[in-house]
């Protein structure tokens, strides 16, 4: 009897349709209109790299210890420095970071002893050229420019 009801009244199919219908409620819509509304990413998000400057003196925090370059699995960080004869310390000259090969694993960030290199919440890293993906020291310090999409 139950089977006959099920066969002829299509209760099983209607049950599924009702579930589908229940989720149509506007309050249940979860779609994000991405370029118009930017979803906030988590605080710990591993995105674009940034080379931090000292907030007051705006000198670089990097001590050119080369630990990030050694930690990187893809070996995409190149740090060069020269010895300062007065302070007897290494001064950073160039810092190159190839974002196109980066997999954002966060190992460089973990390796940095002075929190100079940091992966930030920026995630829009598209460029028009491959060369644009190789970030120099200036790019790393300033970060990618915010993009406004229009249509």
């Amino acid at each position: 009897m139950e089977n006959i009801i099920k066969t002829f009244l299509l209760t099983d199919l209607l049950k599924g349709l009702w579930t589908t219908f229940k989720n149509q409620k506007p309050s249940k819509v979860v779609t994000e209109q991405y370029p118009l509304a930017r979803p906030p990413v988590a605080e710990r998000y591993r995105g674009a790299p940034r080379l931090n400057n000292h907030p007051e003196t705006s000198e670089t925090l990097c001590i050119s210890c080369n630990l990030c370059a050694l930690a990187c699995p893809e070996q995409l960080i190149v740090v060069t420095s020269e010895r300062n004869p007065e302070t007897k310390r290494k001064d950073l000259t160039t810092f190159t970071y190839d974002v196109s090969r980066c997999m954002f694993c966060g190992l460089c960030e973990d390796a940095c002893p002075v929190d100079a290199l940091e992966l930030t919440q920026d995630f829009e890293l598209a460029t028009f050229t491959r060369e644009g993906q190789i970030w120099d020291r200036q790019m790393l310090e300033e970060g990618p420019l915010p993009v406004r999409y229009t249509h």
């Binding site: 049950k15 579930t19 989720n23 979860v30 605080e43 998000y45 591993r46 990187c72 699995p73 997999m103």
Partner: protein, 380 residues
């Protein structure tokens, strides 16, 4: 051209030789092969006589890469094998290296590891359910599943900063302490899943189309499962209660109370039911683990430079797809001498030919979906 040999089935009668056999190439660009799997089907009309898999389109040489990376540096690469269950991959690799190093993992790290791997099991099964149903023709579940999967992925994002290729664990424990609302978020996901699994049952379990498309399709019995070395939900659906979380507990799984869902027939429908029940069991484990996270350190006594003594270690864990094993050989240097992965997807895919024989072409799609393969893991 890859060397492919099709073994014809045993000839039953003379008329077989006269039938119109057809060789059909399916994939690698086929939406239902879940990536770049190529299957060469031998058909007699609509009936499948044999299926031959051609793999390797996504080969990246991960095992070779391991030989040129230090132990810590290789950890992000394992996430890229089974990318829908990256956390499980990371756990397996870390456990293998930790076995080589013979370090003890603090209980807090173990509990967080269990929570995250079980959350990952939910994410993996949700993705499987959505795409499997989509292959068979039910379009709604994929949207609902991805909505719930998003909740799990946002926990990963808040915890370790990445959603898919998480790199959540480090050798010796964890890198990141849990964030403030971690426990609350995990329990919220469990509550949500309990409710939503009922919704999926409403959509599919009773549905006559779903039942007819899946019942009796792709049967693999217990003996065949053992012959092919099949593990995971496919094995449990055949009635073998084999789960490494129970059989060889790792990372403190022996502390949690859960059941191994099994089924009898070993067909596609049974595998669906087993995975649905596994999601509920995962929620049970997460609840228990969240309520009993101990305080304490999150990283064991591991130096900055990892240099294991010469030797070898094999550790296998129960990944969402089956037994995921890591075999690491160390020669005492900074890099692994050899690293071998036993991927569950690859081994389970071997049984495709056996499962496909005698079914219809449309069922092949259902069978590929039910094995739950990820081509990144098959090809490595």
């Amino acid at each position: 051209m890859a060397a492919t040999t099709l073994v014809p089935p045993p000839v039953q009668d003379d008329t077989f030789l006269d039938s119109n056999e057809l060789v059909l190439n399916m994939g690698p660009q086929h939406p239902s092969t879940h990536g770049v799997l190529r299957v060469i089907l031998k058909l007699d009309g609509e009936t499948v006589l044999g299926a031959d898999c051609v793999i390797g389109y996504l080969h990246r040489g991960v095992e070779k890469i391991a030989e040129n990376r230090t132990y810590q540096q290789f950890a992000p690469y394992v996430d890229r094998m089974d990318y829908v269950a990256a956390v499980s991959n990371g756990l397996g690799y870390c456990l293998a290296v930790e076995k080589l190093l013979d370090v003890e993992i603090p209980p807090r790290a173990q509990a967080v590891r269990v929570i995250l791997t079980e959350l990952n099991r939910l994410a993996s099964h949700l993705l499987w359910l959505g795409t499997h149903a989509l292959d068979i023709g039910a379009i709604t579940p994929v949207f609902l599943c991805f909505r719930e999967r998003e909740e799990v992925l946002s926990i990963f994002e808040k915890y370790c900063g990445a959603r898919l290729t998480t790199h959540a664990f480090r050798i010796g424990g964890l890198q990141y302490e849990t964030y403030d609302t971690f426990e609350k978020d995990c329990l919220a996901v469990c509550d949500l899943m309990q409710e939503k699994v009922k919704e999926y049952h409403d959509l599919l379990t009773g549905n006559r189309i779903w039942v007819r498309r899946t019942t009796g399709v792709g049967i693999l019995n217990a003996a065949d499962c053992k012959d092919y070395g099949v593990t995971g939900p496919v094995l449990r659906a055949a009635g073998v209660p084999w789960d490494l979380r129970k059989a060889q507990p790792y990372s403190g799984y022996e502390k949690y109370d859960f059941e191994i869902p099994t089924a009898k027939n070993g067909d596609t429908f049974d595998r669906y039911i087993v995975r649905m029940q596994e999601m509920e069991q995962s929620c049970r484990i997460i609840r228990q683990a969240v309520e009993s996270i101990p305080e304490g350190p999150i990283k064991g006594k591991v130096g900055k430079v990892i240099k294991p003594p010469p030797g070898e270690a094999y550790v296998s864990i129960e990944a969402p797809k089956g037994e995921l094993g890591y075999f690491v050989v160390s020669d005492g240097s900074l890099n692994p001498y050899r690293l071998r992965v036993r991927p569950p997807s690859f081994v389970n895919l071997g049984a495709l030919d056996k499962m496909c024989r005698g079914t219809l072409v449309a069922d092949v799609v259902a069978i590929i979906g039910t094995i739950d393969i990820v081509l990144g893991e098959v090809d490595r």
